[in-house]
């Protein structure tokens, strides 16, 4: 039941928030915040509980199973293991931050805004929890539509273009995944006589090599677009740039992670043979993404667009690590999903904080802000350093583990990916220089961080340092998950 709460809280909260706007326009944000905090407390509560004794297979901490449409083999099946648990904690943590960043930014149609915000988060929670492929596709689509509205209604300048582009890219990938899900359903049914969408049973599907590869590519289409991987990334800079701050935070922090999660949860365990066959291709795509995204990040003059391209670069590491097939790289990927969510989310929040003061995202119109905003400058420095992978911060652990693992799978691709560390230094330091250092173009009379801004940024600072110095807690949790079992099985 507790698992159902993670999905129902935000979805029910969404309707409540919408309805409450009729009473008072500030009520929805309080409801949204309370829902997110309640979910966060619940998720952390599960996390800090003593871990159950390790089971033979993937050890699910909680399972919820309810038949739904038995005729078609569809069931309301939820389960949580280490991987999903970490993602759920991240979802509610960043969700709470997303509510806080919207606090004053959104004044227009607040009820419908928080409805969409909570609905996206509910969809994301669903994606991380469901163990039925039919429902997985359902929640995959649930995430999409409210996000389309968030960008299209509350976004900046070219919001309609950006939201449409986002929708078309994701939808195209999603439809290919739907084909693959149906293909898998029929392949499994034909060979076993049991037509089911259940993840646990589909794992046992006897698979022909050719069909397996095509089905894998269908899944990958959806996940590569979402991740996003080169060359399917071009929706992301537009969507990120035009979205309201909370939209960018959720996009970068959570939506992209559903792509990575999909690869770890579905693609690797369902199609091990096909993954091995294509591993080099995907790793190379990842490495190209790291360098290409970094190069383009350097070229941008719009703060949010720059950060958007750094996401392309950082998510390239996920692709490199996921297809390295060893535990080092896998742990790095999980760590990268969390730390990238935090550090990039924070950079988007900072862009939002600056936008509220300067009413611009143009880097050329900033400069020399340190004197006026030393507090914000110091916090930005932390996340800029996180973005270039400074040891002591969580992102370093992630990138080190990924590269140390992928080295064992493919040294040359790893060398290519590692040069991304130099490129990351180049574009990351450019942010500090353009925004906070150098000559200020005009006399800024600005207020340094408000209490609300400090409340939303400081937890992220603490989290990223904690992950950098004491990552073991996360590693232990992530090691109790399905993909690890697959790697261990392979090693033997």
């Amino acid at each position: 039941m507790i698992l159902l709460a993670f999905i129902l809280f935000p979805l029910a909260g969404a309707f409540l928030a919408w309805a409450s706007a009729a009473v008072n326009a500030t009520l929805p944000r309080w409801i949204a915040l309370l829902v997110m905090l309640a979910g966060l407390v619940l998720a952390v509560g599960i996390w800090v509980q003593p871990e159950p004794a390790s089971l033979a297979g993937a050890d699910w901490r909680y399972v919820y199973h309810q038949p739904w449409m038995p005729r078609f083999g569809v069931s309301l099946s939820l389960a949580i293991d280490g991987l999903s648990l970490l993602m759920i904690v991240l979802t509610f943590f960043l969700g709470a931050m997303a509510v806080l960043v919207s606090w004053n930014e959104i004044r227009d149609r607040t009820g419908f805004y928080y409805f969409n915000l909570l609905f996206v988060l509910g969809g994301i929670a669903g994606v991380f929890l469901v163990m039925d492929l039919f429902l997985f596709y359902f929640f995959w689509e649930v995430m999409l539509i409210p996000m389309y509205f968030l960008i299209g209604i509350w976004g900046h300048g070219r919001r309609l273009y950006a939201s449409l582009k986002f929708f078309l890219f994701t939808q195209a990938g999603g439809l290919l995944m739907l084909l693959s899900i149906l293909g898998l359903y029929f392949v499994h049914g034909a060979s076993t006589g049991n037509y089911t969408f259940s993840y646990a049973e589909l794992l046992q599907t006897p698979m022909e090599q050719g069909i397996g590869r095509w089905l894998m590519l269908g899944f990958m289409a959806a996940f590569l677009v979402k991740l996003p991987a080169f060359p399917f990334h071009t929706w992301l800079p537009d969507a990120h740039t035009e979205a309201p701050t909370a939209g960018s935070v959720i996009l970068a922090g959570l939506l992209l992670k559903t792509g990575a999660y999909g690869i770890l949860r579905f693609v690797l365990p369902l199609f091990p043979e096909a993954c091995h066959a294509f591993a080099q291709v995907f790793m190379l795509l990842g490495a190209i993404g790291i360098l290409y995204g970094g190069q383009l990040a350097y070229a941008q003059t719009d703060f949010k667009r720059l950060v958007a391209y750094t996401s392309v670069s950082h998510m390239g590491f996920v692709l490199v690590g996921a297809f390295a097939f060893n535990e080092l790289a896998y742990q790095g990927v999980v760590m990268q999903m969390i730390t990238h969510g935090i550090s990039t989310g924070a950079l988007f929040m900072i862009a939002g904080v600056l936008y509220e003061r300067l009413h611009t995202r143009e880097l050329e119109k900033m400069g020399g802000l340190w004197a006026a905003l030393p507090g914000l400058g110091a916090i930005t420095m932390v996340f800029v350093m996180a973005s270039l992978g400074l040891p002591g911060l969580g992102n370093f652990i992630a990138e080190f583990l990924i590269l140390a693992g992928s080295w064992q799978a493919s040294p040359w691709i790893t060398v290519l990916a590692a040069t991304g560390l130099v490129v990351a230094t180049v574009y990351s330091l450019r942010i500090m220089q353009k925004v906070f250092f150098g000559i200020s173009l005009r006399e800024f009379r600005l207020k340094d961080m408000t209490v609300r801004e400090a409340v939303m940024l400081l937890p992220l600072v603490i989290a990223i340092i904690w992950l950098g110095l004491f990552p073991q807690r996360v590693i232990d949790t992530a090691s109790k998950a399905a993909p690890v079992v697959a790697f261990q099985y392979k090693d033997n």
Binding site: F169, L390, A404, L421
Partner: protein, 619 residues
């Protein structure tokens, strides 16, 4: 020794307090925290070092917490105290402390006083982490941490864009080396399954025979990291620009401590380099070439800090040469004396710059012997060491040892000794030139204010150390006293010499001393002699490395960025959208509402289909 964790922890704590509460504790509070944390760390180091020497154990390690563990691969936040790390930790805390005290005077008018001390404390903490780390990943943490602090402090005066550029250059160029080092770590993880120093070095010996390609790769990649941080060829270009930072920063980071991190790394992993003779030869050649190139560049600079910067590159070249020929302890000896006399020279230069209101051009100085006698005295002591004047300067004892061993150690060659002697000649020449231009001749800029005691006392202490540190080791010709090498023995293998005769050593020392004297004489006579202009500009720019890198790396990167700002890949998708739209227009154009066109279309279609059917049947 149980308090060892305090050595890096105190400076980190100081930095944290300064970051969080700088506004509340006032300037005296900043001084108390900033200097106090480093002073206490120095005290703990001395006590722990004393206990360590009394105990007689080869190494003491302290486990703080488990950093990360994945499967069998595990890394702890562990510290390690042995002769090598103790030597470095002592120099870092002690010299660092003196520089902090000096900075309270030098930076006293700066509005960002607290930020300065926060960064300096953070730097000392990271550097201590680097040398005290028990495993290579934790060392990498310190390694990157000092890179960060270097960036923050070079760009300390952030309003000038050129300072920002110098800061970024330092970070990016050293990051190139760091990435090479990271790849070396991946190789070590793959082959030894660990990054803990003792385990790695032990397994390396059983895993690889000398010259095995894997270990050669690892050694070369580690060398890549070392040349980045230590500003050796080909990654030396960042250090002269790093002089954009405040002078105490140049003294602490870019002379005494951080830039010797590469020396530390190679000395620490000496087992790996011994297994890779090719890489070790590369270390020696890098050192020999760098010490000469940088020496020539120092000779033609006009900015006093750039002279010292190039001389730092050159002196570290000596240390690399020593490491390359297998004279491990000689490199550490030169590191210690260099830390004292180069910190002294930089702080002395800082006193001059401060007195002349931030004037750094030596040709606008002159005659300061009379107006700043105290500074003149200590600067002279430092210069004697740099120029390696026999017997009375510490620099002579350490450099002479390297010169001698460059020819006679196991990996030594006469050509290395020749390069080292030639380097000593140039060093004496540019040091003399600097002394003459700054302190002799006619006074050109008036002294604004004289340095106070908080600046002068550290200078006097360093002057004493610069003289006494030489007596840690005496050559064969002067009684062969080897306290430091004996102390380092458990960590660094003994120097193996090929053919050592005391007479030959006497001869070499005489030649070197004679050449130094000659250099001083020539410089004195030819101080204002004209110099070929193009050659001078070429040397002054550091042999054109910057221009070459600009053309090879920077320009292409920036040009591609500018060309592809709009992301060419997006054209595929917008193109797809355009094609769709075009097709839509074409199709909708056919829907014209004119019946005869529709009829014609139906007829043409029917004819076409029928033709195809008939044609296929007739085949």
């Amino acid at each position: 020794m149980e308090w060892m964790y305090l050595v890096p922890a105190l400076p980190f704590l100081g930095a944290l307090i300064l970051i969080l509460f700088s506004g509340k504790i006032g300037k005296p509070g900043v001084i108390a925290v900033g200097c106090g944390s480093i002073g206490l760390a120095a005290l703990v180091t001395i006590v722990a070092g004393w206990q360590f020497m009394q105990s007689g154990v080869p190494a003491f390690s302290q486990h703080l917490w488990e950093w990360l563990r994945v499967g069998d691969f595990s890394i702890g936040v562990n510290l390690r105290l042995d002769a090598l790390s103790l030597s470095f930790a002592f120099v870092i805390t002690f010299v660092g402390w003196l520089i902090h005290i000096y900075s309270t005077g030098y930076m006293s008018d700066d509005p960002d006083f607290a930020r300065f001390f926060a960064c300096m404390n953070l730097f000392v903490g990271s550097m201590l982490m680097l040398v005290l780390a028990d495993n290579l990943l934790l060392m990498y943490l310190g390694w990157e941490g000092v890179g960060l602090c270097s960036y923050l402090l070079i760009g300390f005066w952030y309003k000038a864009p050129e300072n920002g550029a110098a800061a970024r250059k330092a970070f990016i160029v050293t990051r190139v080396g760091d990435t090479a080092m990271a790849i070396a770590l991946f190789l070590l993880v793959q082959h030894t399954g660990s990054l803990q120093l003792s385990v790695v070095l032990e397994r390396a010996q059983s895993l690889w025979a000398a010259g095995d390609p894997t270990v050669v790769w690892i050694a070369f990649l580690l060398l890549g990291g070392a040349v980045g941080k230590s500003a050796q060829l080909p990654l030396q270009t960042w250090l002269p620009d790093a002089m954009a930072g405040p002078t105490p920063v140049s003294a602490l980071i870019h002379a005494a401590t951080m830039v010797t991190a590469g020396v530390y790394l190679i000395a620490r992993t000496n087992v790996i380099f011994s297994l890779a003779p090719a890489a070790q030869t590369a270390v020696a050649i890098t050192g020999a070439v760098t010490l000469l190139l940088a020496g020539f560049s120092a000779w033609v600079q006009t900015d006093i800090k750039r002279v010292l910067a190039y001389s730092t590159i050159s002196q570290i070249g000596y240390m690399f040469l020593a490491l390359g020929v297998g004279a491990w302890s000689a490199a550490i000896f030169h590191f210690i004396t260099h830390a004292f006399f180069k910190a002294l020279l930089f702080l002395g230069a800082g006193a001059v710059i401060h007195a002349l209101h931030h004037e750094q051009d030596m040709f606008k100085m002159g005659g300061l012997r009379k107006s700043l006698p105290g500074v003149f005295l200590v600067f002279l002591i430092g210069s004697l060491s740099l120029a390696a004047i026999p017997f009375i300067s510490s620099g002579w004892y350490s450099k002479d040892q390297i010169i001698w061993l460059a020819g006679t150690a196991a990996g030594g060659r006469p050509v290395y000794a020749f390069a080292a002697v030639l380097g000593a000649f140039i060093t004496a020449a540019y040091t003399t030139r600097m002394m003459l231009l700054v302190f002799f001749g006619k006074e050109q800029t008036h002294v604004h204010h004289k340095p106070g005691p908080e600046m002068m006392v550290p200078l006097y202490v360093l002057a004493v150390c610069s003289t006494l540190a030489g007596f840690l080791e005496l050559p064969h010709t002067l009684g062969h006293f080897t306290w430091l090498s004996d102390f380092l023995q458990p960590v660094l293998p003994e120097v193996v010499t090929q053919h050592a005769s005391v007479a030959a050593e006497w001869g070499l020392q005489t030649i070197t001393a004679g050449l130094a004297a000659l250099a001083i004489y020539i410089t004195w006579r030819l101080l204002n002699a004209p110099f070929p202009k193009e050659a001078g500009a070429f040397l002054k720019s550091g042999w054109g490395f910057d221009a070459a890198y600009d053309v090879l790396f920077v320009q292409p990167f920036v040009r591609i960025a500018r060309l592809n700002r709009k992301d060419i890949i997006d054209n595929v998708y917008t193109g797809l959208a355009a094609i769709t739209r075009g097709l839509h227009r074409m199709m909708s154009a056919t829907q014209s509402g004119i019946i005869r066109w529709y009829v014609l279309g139906v007829v043409m279609g029917a004819v076409l289909i029928l033709s195809v059917i008939i044609w296929r049947h007739s085949m």
